[in-house]
Structure formats: structure tokens, C-alpha cells
């Protein structure tokens, strides 16, 4: 199933949730919609599911107009952040729900339903919980049941809204890996929404970065990490240092200090310089583009995170390997291994 979204606009009062979104999702893809809260990613997902309606724009599945159908007819599996399980039903009945509410003509007989539910519970590895109620399950188990329930109707598309958002860090990591392998197994076109960049980069084949109702970049996880298309994407993905700089006459200045960095192809004017925290190499004073005094050092496993007051006045945080111990009060030179400059 391919999904095509064209020029989607949705407004809530004076808030523009979607501001002209175009997106194409290929068959069998596992796509992540990544963005901060309020970026419109959940609204986009809900419109694709038929739980919300756009003010204007088009949504089509395999070329046919999806907006002509309600959520019920679209045959889309939807997984909610807070599971939305039916708490008065057992796990078994929750999963069976979609099969039991089918129109009489296409409804399967009881043994077929039972076999199908069993199969799905096996797929999510929770067949031993069939007779429990949702309240007796852990968060991770509930979300897997919610997924099994969504898959019961053999959806053409699977949509997941912050599926791991309510879970603790360890369970999230497990479920991420599990979701990716599940997707390889069932191979249904899937879109999931997340504000967690690590989740998006780890699970998805393709990542759509959104901000303020617009798509900032679409690309593979490597693309959006290695070559961010906009300042927003660079700032949002990976831990970045952001410095306001001036480009003028072939020179980049931070405050009034010229930086010894290449300026090929840059537009003159106020710009933003982005460097990943771990791309700032530490050297002796005078060895790099920047110089600064170490204020404070914390150790995080393999790296030390140092707060450095640059001589231009800005204070930045860098991640340096532990081979050379930094101490508060040291004066160091900093050389960006890789950096990007965006106008504006």
C-alpha cells in the first residue's frame, strides 16, 4: 500500500497544526514522523487514519481518495500512545474485537477467530496472557496487545502514535528492536510518530522531520543525521552546539573574533554555525578555530562532557573522549572536525 499526502492543511483555532504537507510513503516502508510536540506529526497521523479531517489537501491510498472514507472503512491499524485497550475485556477479546465487529457477511466463524487471535498473540509473544485483563499487564505488554489488536483486522497500513512514549527507557529500547523485527516479518506499510530522535533513527527506514506544521527534511536516518537540510534539523537531531556567527567578506566571525574556517559558498550575513558536541576536537590553546576556558566537567561513561566558556562570550558543551582528562580552569583550543553553517 502506498500513501500519498498532498498539500495538507489543518488549523485548530488560530494554531496551524499542518501547513501544507506533502508526503509519499512507499509500499512496505517503516517511516518515522519525528518532531517536537506541536509540530503536527500526530495530526498528520490521525488524518491518515481518518480520526481527524484536514481543512484542505488530499490523502490517497494506492491512488484512491482516502478522505472519502471514514476511519471504519479505511482498514487502517492504529496504535495509541496510551494503548486505548478495552479494559472490560480480556486480552483475548481485545484482540478479537476487530474480527467480531465485522459485518455479518464477512465475519469469520468462531473457530477461525480463535485461531487468528491465537496466532496474533503468538506473534507478539504474549499468548500466555490471553485470559488476563489489561489492568493486569505491564505497559510494554499492553502496547504489544494493542499492536496485536490493530493487526487483527489485517490492516493495509499500520499507524503508531508515540507507541513507546508512555514506557520506561529500558522497555522502550527492547520494544524498538522488537518493532523493527516485527515489521520485517509482516512487512505492512507503517508510520510511527515519535519525538525521540534515537527511536526514529534506530527503527525507521526513512525519517520525516517536522516542525511547526511543515516538513523540514525527508531522508534515511543517515541522511538526516549526517546532512541535515535545515538549521532546525541540525539542532533537533543529535546533540549540537549552535553558535550565532557573521559571514562577511570571506570571513566568519563569532562576535568580533574571526574564525579560521572555510566559507566556500556561503551567503554573507547573520548565520548559524552548527557542530556536533563530539565533533569538537580538544587541543592546546591556539590550535583550533575556538579558544575557551573549561568551566565544569562531568563524566558520562566513555565521554567527558565539559562546559567551555568561549572567548567570544558564548558557553558551549562538548563531549570529549576520556584519553585526555580536562579540568575546570584549563584553557583549551577547539577545532570542529565537521560543521555546518545555515544562513539566518
Amino acid at each position: 500500500m502506498t500513501i500519498e499526502v498532498r498539500n495538507l492543511v489543518k488549523q485548530f483555532g488560530s494554531f496551524k497544526a499542518l501547513d501544507g504537507v506533502d508526503l509519499k510513503v512507499d509500499n512496505g516502508e517503516l517511516l518515522a514522523l519525528l518532531g517536537p510536540s506541536g509540530s503536527g506529526k500526530t495530526t498528520l497521523l490521525r488524518i491518515i487514519a481518518g480520526l481527524d479531517w484536514p481543512d484542505s489537501g488530499e490523502v490517497s491510498f494506492n491512488g484512491e481518495d482516502a478522505l472519502a472514507q471514514g476511519a471504519r472503512e479505511r482498514n487502517v491499524g492504529f496504535v495509541f500512545q496510551h494503548y486505548a485497550l478495552f479494559r472490560h475485556m480480556t486480552v483475548f477479546e481485545n484482540v478479537a474485537f476487530g474480527l467480531r465487529v465485522q459485518p455479518r457477511a464477512s465475519r469469520k466463524d468462531e473457530p477461525t477467530i480463535r485461531a487468528r487471535v491465537k496466532e496474533l498473540l503468538d506473534l507478539v509473544q504474549l499468548d500466555w496472557l490471553a485470559d488476563r485483563y489489561p489492568s493486569q499487564l505491564s505497559g510494554g505488554q499492553r502496547q504489544r496487545i494493542a499492536l496485536a489488536r490493530a493487526l487483527a483486522i489485517e490492516p493495509r497500513i499500520l499507524l503508531l502514535d508515540e507507541p513507546f512514549g508512555a514506557l520506561d527507557a529500558k522497555v522502550r529500547k527492547e520494544l524498538r528492536r522488537w518493532l523493527r523485527s516485527l515489521h520485517q516479518e509482516i512487512n505492512v506499510t507503517s508510520i510511527f510518530v515519535t519525538h525521540d530522535q534515537e527511536e526514529a533513527l534506530e527503527v525507521a527506514n526513512r525519517v520525516v522531520v517536522m516542525d511547526k506544521g511543515r516538513i523540514e527534511q525527508i531522508g534515511s536516518p543517515d541522511d538526516v543525521y549526517e546532512s541535515p537540510a535545515t538549521a532546525f534539523v541540525h539542532g533537533f537531531i543529535g546533540e549540537s552546539i549552535e553558535l550565532p556567527v557573521q559571514v562577511e567578506g570571506g570571513v566568519i566571525r563569532l562576535g568580533d573574533r574571526p574564525l579560521n574556517l572555510a566559507v566556500d559558498g556561503l551567503v554573507s550575513g547573520a548565520s548559524k554555525l552548527f557542530v556536533r558536541r563530539h565533533d569538537m576536537l580538544v587541543g592546546p590553546p591556539g590550535s583550533g578555530a575556538f579558544e575557551g576556558a573549561v568551566q565544569h566537567v562531568r563524566n558520562f561513561g566513555p565521554v567527558q562532557r565539559a562546559e567551555v566558556a568561549l572567548s567570544g562570550g558564548e558557553t558551549i558543551e562538548i563531549d570529549a573522549p576520556r584519553d585526555r582528562e580536562l579540568r575546570a580552569g584549563d584553557t583549551i583550543g577547539l577545532k570542529p572536525r565537521r560543521y555546518r553553517i545555515f544562513a539566518g
Binding site: 487514519a49 481518518g50 480520526l51 471514514g70 476511519a71 471504519r72 479505511r74 482498514n75 487502517v76 491499524g77 492504529f78 495509541f80 496510551h82 486505548a84 485497550l85 478495552f86 479494559r87 472490560h88 475485556m89 474485537f97 476487530g98 467480531r100 465487529v101 465485522q102 485483563y133 489492568s135 493486569q136 494493542a146 489488536r149 490493530a150 487483527a152 483486522i153
Partner: protein, 261 residues
């Protein structure tokens, strides 16, 4: 624990025990004669029958009101929400007088209804109307918090799984609200059975037709037939208790299917 029990005893159990003791002054035969008299039986039938019918109406209408109050945002919602409590707060006699004035043959609603040949005030229908009026807040206030707690997402989930609106209501919403609905029904019923003030104004109080059991008790008391009064009271007490107990069991059974979160 001791305090709770003592308090419960003083407030509820001792008066009830007194009631039973008083009725023991009657021989079983006398007791039976009082109860099987036509007037007593009719009064009990009017009280319990109409109270049950009113509670059922309240269950349906109350659920609709709750739905609107919880799920929709409309101008004046808070005002309507407050108005629901009026039957709680209004002195019952005031409610009775107001309803009587409204439904009397010259009243705003009574006149058009009379033109259609429907007489409300001073008939059993009047009792029914009064019982609906005083029972509605019980259904609304017991169901409201439970519905507020019910995540609208489960309806969306049901819809995206292919359930029609009707299937969603029958299979998802009603079962989740079941225990609260039963409690509301029981409370509205209990209140309607015991209602006196508002009913006697509108009822007409015709023996055997529109005379409610509590009124009959008062009449017997004013005739100094205390034993008769307590006999009727005991029957009301027992029947009410049995019904409330049954609803309670039913509710517990329904709740056991939804373990606490």
C-alpha cells in the same frame, strides 16, 4: 472502627430496629390483614411500580444528559451542569408545588396536554413526573465521573477496528459504564420510593389510584394506627433493601469483570 459502628448504629440501625419492634406488637394475622388490604397493596404498587419506571426513564435520559455534559463543549454547559443539582437542593415541597402548577390543567404544560386529553396533575402520571424530577441528579452524578474517566481514544480505537457507532456503544461504552449505570438506577429508584414531599402535591392522593405508600403511612399515623403504619413501613423497608441488595450484587458482578486499574 468502634466509632464507625456506634455511629452507624445510632443513626441507622437503632431506628430501624425500633421500627421492627413496633411492628411486632401485631400478631402475624393482623400484620397480614393490614398488608393484604386493597388500599395498602395499591399504595405499595403505586410507589414501587412508578418508582421503578421513573428510575428507568432517568437511566436513559440521565445517560444522554451525562453524555452531552461530558463530551460536548457548548455555551452554558456549566450552567446546565449546575442545574442538574437543583432537584437535590430544592425543598421537595417547593418542587411539588412547582410541578403541580406547571402540570395543572391551567398550567403551562398542563393546558396543552389537557387539550390532547392527557391529564398529568392529580393522576399517577403526576407521581411519575415528580419521581423523574427528583431522581435525575442521582443518575447524572454517579455516571458523570466514570464517563469523564473513560478515554475517548477507546471509541476511536473501536472505530478504526471497524466497529460501527452502534457497536461501539453496545460493546465498548455501555459495558464500561455498566456498574455506574446500575448504581445510578438503584439510587434514583431508592429516592423515588422514599419521595414524599413533591409527590403528594401533584398526586391527588386518591386512595387505590394515586396514593403512595409513604402517604398511607402518614395517614395511618394521623389516625393513631401506629402498628398499621409500621407494618407498611417494614414492608417498604424490606422490599427496598432486597432491591438495593440485588442491584449491589449485580453491580459487584459487573465490576468484577473490570478489575481496578
Amino acid at each position: 472502627m468502634g466509632l464507625t459502628l456506634s455511629w452507624l448504629s445510632i443513626i441507622i440501625l437503632i431506628p430501624l430496629a425500633g421500627l421492627f419492634l413496633k411492628s411486632l406488637e401485631l400478631s402475624p394475622e393482623q400484620f397480614w390483614n393490614i398488608l393484604s388490604s386493597r388500599r395498602t397493596l395499591n399504595a405499595l404498587r403505586v410507589s414501587f411500580g412508578l418508582a421503578f419506571a421513573a428510575a428507568c426513564v432517568n437511566l436513559v435520559m440521565g445517560s444522554i444528559i451525562v453524555w452531552a455534559l461530558v463530551r460536548y463543549r457548548f455555551p452554558g454547559r456549566r450552567l446546565f451542569d449546575a442545574i442538574v443539582d437543583v432537584p437535590f437542593a430544592l425543598p421537595t415541597a417547593v418542587a411539588g408545588v412547582a410541578l403541580t402548577a406547571l402540570f395543572a390543567e391551567t398550567g403551562w404544560l398542563g393546558a396543552p396536554l389537557a387539550a390532547l386529553g392527557i391529564k398529568v396533575a392529580f393522576t399517577p402520571i403526576g407521581i411519575f413526573v415528580a419521581m423523574i424530577f427528583i431522581g435525575i441528579p442521582f443518575v447524572v452524578r454517579t455516571v458523570q465521573p466514570v464517563l469523564q474517566d473513560l478515554d475517548p481514544e477507546i471509541e476511536e480505537a473501536a472505530g478504526s477496528l471497524g466497529a460501527s457507532r452502534w457497536q461501539t456503544i453496545i460493546r465498548v461504552i455501555l459495558p464500561s459504564l455498566g456498574p455506574a449505570l446500575l448504581t445510578g438506577l438503584a439510587l434514583a429508584f431508592a429516592r423515588a420510593v422514599g419521595e414524599y414531599g413533591s409527590v403528594i402535591f401533584i398526586a391527588g392522593n386518591l386512595p387505590n389510584v394515586s396514593e403512595i405508600a409513604p402517604l398511607l403511612i402518614v395517614i395511618r399515623l394521623s389516625e393513631f394506627r401506629y402498628a398499621d403504619a409500621t407494618a407498611i413501613a417494614v414492608v417498604m423497608l424490606v422490599v427496598s433493601f432486597v432491591i438495593i441488595f440485588a442491584v449491589n450484587r449485580l453491580q459487584r458482578w459487573a465490576q468484577s469483570r473490570i478489575p481496578a486499574r
